[in-house]
């Protein structure tokens, strides 16, 4: 079976994209003593900017743990992640939280929109986290919502939106502060086929940016065509690093 090491990313025409995420010997263990479980086994991978990288694999293979470590939500047991030239091991406490607030955007499987906020207010949250004035934040959020095709639903509450629309709001929220890393966890898992396609097209068209790294964790084989690069994990290791076969 090919692995990440022996299956290099094929060179694309033109200049090689800058590396946004560099993982070096990432290992993660949970528990202690006899219940200790090793979930990641020394992962080395570079993920470039300007492309949409898909991370796939069976349940329990370590995908969620890996993106949690990449996004700075979990500390690795060993190894280090460098995000845009900044080793995460050098950041502690609030410095890491601030780094994450500025540089990382999240799209969650269950959207995680605040039910009491309108679409525009939900999208404005990362700007409020960055202490922007509320009025300006909501104005900026409205612009991003317009870009994802929800300019007419600014004042709708999450329960007034379809699943696909909620996920588009979540994508707008993830992008509103222009993060350099976008991490999407199963963004199409709760959606029907058509909505899933729309969401992936949106990610591809709006999120992918020359200065941004986009990682999408997915189980959904219908969306593989949208990936520029495919990383497959099994048993805590990357076992395949390739370009999706249906990639144009």
């Amino acid at each position: 079976m090919p692995t990440a090491l022996d299956t290099p990313v094929p060179d694309s025409p033109g200049p090689r994209p800058a590396v946004g995420v560099a993982c070096r010997a990432i290992a993660k263990e949970f528990g202690s003593g006899e219940t200790r479980t090793r979930v990641l086994h020394g992962i080395d991978v570079d993920i470039g900017c300007g492309a949409l990288t898909l991370l796939i694999g069976p349940s329990g293979c370590g995908k969620t743990t890996l993106i949690s470590i990449i996004a700075g939500l979990l500390d690795p047991t060993a190894g280090d992640v460098t995000l845009f030239g900044t080793p995460q091991s050098q950041l502690r406490g609030n410095r890491r939280v601030d780094f994450r607030a500025r540089n990382v955007g999240f799209v969650f499987q269950q959207y995680n929109l605040l039910p009491s906020l309108t679409a525009a207010e939900n999208v404005a949250v990362p700007l409020l986290v960055a202490r922007q004035p509320r009025k300006r934040a909501i104005e900026q959020a409205a612009g991003v919502l317009d870009a994802v095709g929800l300019g007419s639903r600014l004042k709708a509450f999450p329960n007034q939106l379809s699943g696909g629309q909620q996920q588009r709001v979540a994508i707008a929220r993830a992008l509103v502060h222009e993060p350099r890393l976008l991490v999407c966890d199963e963004p199409t898992a709760a959606l029907d086929s058509s909505s899933g396609q729309t969401v992936m097209e949106l990610l591809k068209s709006v999120a992918v940016h020359p200065d941004r790294t986009v990682i999408v964790v997915t189980h959904d084989s219908r969306v593989l065509q949208f990936g520029d690069r495919l990383l497959e994990m099994a048993d805590g290791q990357i076992v395949l690093d390739t370009v999706p076969s249906s990639h144009p």
Partner: protein, 380 residues
């Protein structure tokens, strides 16, 4: 982020109101019961408060409160007047009599006998009649609540007759008095008249009340009276607190009210604490998402505390408002509760209790929020 916290709170209106009413109900119980307790205890000293002119009270040396009275001899008043430093001193009778209507209906009444000449101790608020009429034979005043108690549903009217110790008394005036502890009608007569309305005893004088000359403090006057006469002499404040402390120490009232107040605290803390905790628990994944998006623990603590403070402030205002409404209404329709109000100390004390309840609720919730791993947002 405070704005987000506020919106989150308003978003779950059922839990929001549940927590608010938990606090409000606790505050109502605590405020109302504590106020009634203080009002009741305060009433024990109301007979003293109605004699505002007197700063010195002289009575039997074994006296323990203003209600259980061992009479002293009538001549005591002359001895007190003779004590150096006293400006004036007069007799005051206070006892219990049975007032019977001509049709046989009767009630126990508090009988006050005020000085025949100076009227020291006479009621200040006269609703009907003239105080000078007290000097007429068999004349008495009755308080409004007493009139309503003896003649329920009938309009206030002068000239009615009652009988006390087989002696006829004519109501020549209707007055307001501070509500007495026993909620009996209050009948006021001159001292010489009042002593005719009771069974004859060798000693009949309840108190000698007076005031010292300028330059002598009431405490100093009392010291001199004790030394010169052997009677118990207390300043107004001393007698008030002696009476209140007697009732606190010798009745079950503090225990009963104390239990209700503690229950109010427990109910308030349990409802508000549990509801707020559940509210936080249900929002845990949202707090996790906020954590992932870069909200640090300090700001999360601020958000939770703000939510708790809003619940506490609104619940407190509602609870105190309901208690105020209770006393406003009950004071008008229930004579037994007239004059009861919420002392500022109770209002402040209850605010302290609310802070404790809210702190308790916040701590329970904050623990979960602070221990929350932001990576939980990826677990579906």
């Amino acid at each position: 982020m405070n704005w987000v916290a506020w919106k989150m709170l308003n978003g779950d209106i059922a839990k929001y109101l549940g927590a608010v009413f938990g606090v409000a109900f606790g505050v109502l119980l605590i405020t109302q019961q504590a106020s009634i307790f203080i009002g009741l205890m305060s009433r024990t000293a109301n007979p003293l408060r109605d004699v505002r002119e007197a700063s010195v009270w002289v009575t039997d040396r074994h006296q323990q409160n203003a209600d259980e009275i061992e009479p002293i001899s009538d001549g005591a008043v002359h001895r007190i007047r003779g004590v150096e430093g006293m400006d004036w001193a007069v007799r005051l009778y206070k006892g219990v009599a049975r007032a019977r209507r001509p049709d046989g209906i009767f009630r126990q009444v508090i009988l006050l006998g005020v000085d025949d000449h100076s009227f020291v101790g006479a009621p200040r608020t006269i609703l009907m009649g003239d105080l000078a009429d007290l000097r007429r034979p068999s004349a008495v005043f009755i308080d409004k609540a007493g009139h309503e108690s003896l003649w329920p549903g009938e309009p206030l009217r002068l000239g009615r007759e009652i009988e006390m110790s087989e002696r006829r008394a004519v109501i020549v005036g209707i007055c307001e008095t501070s509500a007495p502890f026993q909620s009996f009608p209050v009948v006021v007569a001159t001292y010489s008249q009042a002593t005719q309305f009771i069974a004859r005893e060798r000693k009949q004088l309840s108190f000698v009340v007076g005031a010292p000359v300028a330059g002598v403090t009431p405490a100093e006057a009392c010291r001199r009276i004790k030394a010169a006469t052997g009677f118990e002499a207390l300043t107004y404040d001393q007698f008030v607190w002696q009476t209140i402390n007697y009732y606190i120490a010798n009745t079950g009232i503090p225990v009963n009210f104390g239990i209700t107040i503690v229950l109010g605290f427990i109910v308030g803390a349990a409802i508000a604490g549990q509801t707020f905790y559940l509210f936080t628990l249900e929002n845990l994944r949202h707090f996790g998402a906020l954590k992932a998006m870069g909200v640090n623990n300090r700001r999360l603590i601020g958000m939770v505390l703000l939510q708790a403070a809003v619940i506490g402030a609104i619940g407190y205002s509602l609870g105190v408002g309901m208690a105020v409404a209770f006393f406003e209404v009950s004071g008008r329709v229930l004579p037994d509760l007239r004059g009861m109000n919420i002392p500022w100390q109770v209002a402040f004390g209850t605010a302290g209790v609310v802070v404790a309840i809210i702190t308790f609720a916040s701590l329970m919730s904050l623990r979960r929020v602070l221990l929350l791993e932001p990576a939980v947002v990826f677990r579906g």
